[in-house]
Symmetry: C2
Subunit: 129 residues, 2 copies
Amino acid sequence: MTDRQPPRPTDSELAILGVLWERGPSTVRDVHEALNKDGSTGYTTVLKILQIMTEKGLVVRDETERAHVYESRYGEQKTQRQLLADLAERAFGGSATKLVMQALSGRKASADELTAIRNLLDTLEGEKR
Amino acid sequence: MTDRQPPRPTDSELAILGVLWERGPSTVRDVHEALNKDGSTGYTTVLKILQIMTEKGLVVRDETERAHVYESRYGEQKTQRQLLADLAERAFGGSATKLVMQALSGRKASADELTAIRNLLDTLEGEKR
DNA sequence: CGCTCACTACGAAACTCTTCGTTGACATCC
DNA sequence: GGATGTCAACGAAGAGTTTCGTAGTGAGCG
């Protein structure tokens, strides 16, 4: 009835979504050029993946212009949270807290970053009480 | 020279690794029975995936007994951190901090969990100074 | 000794993902 | 109006994943 659960994007799809989030609605050419800054992907490859993503519902396509314009259907944060929930489910026994703690301890964060996280914690706790 | 970077486990592989981490070294039968508690996977399917994982180096196999015994080659935490680093790279522009903050805000954690995370933060900051 | 059971090995089939070559449509430029 | 360039669509090839049927092998039982 409501929107079906979007499928988990693959690596290539995620790379393209990154471009769309950064640039906003873009043509195939735009995406291709943005990706080719570092990697090397053919134009038709990008096109094909965008077509598949359209079928999957990951992006929406505006066909009014000759060069179709693609836009990510789900926001960056929503997608990121989806991926995190997914990973928590698959690799952390469903515990997002375990995921967070592992991410924190497995990594050197700067003092600034730790402070930012602490502030976020404060906010969350404030909401709760 | 040193160990080659282990490949990212697939979903099925991760499910099997979960069993191996929980039970310790196990035979195919052990894993199969553990997995069939809820899902439905054939015995030979589990065997095949374990064989592939052996080729990939994700597990090690002890063949001294007739029923081979499989063991995860990498610990649970190490694998989890690998997966997190990977996801941070692919979906969070390489920023583990962004990942943590998204995981925190996208989720309702209990007060106890927030406290646990806060304590971890204290420990990390303590080490740093 | 021969049967049966448990187990591994092999390989095929279906599916997805990634890549790209080719084709055809459309527009613009000379 | 024909050549040139841009673009979407199609299809195919190759790799990886997941599934499982079938075959072979060894161990122990009767």
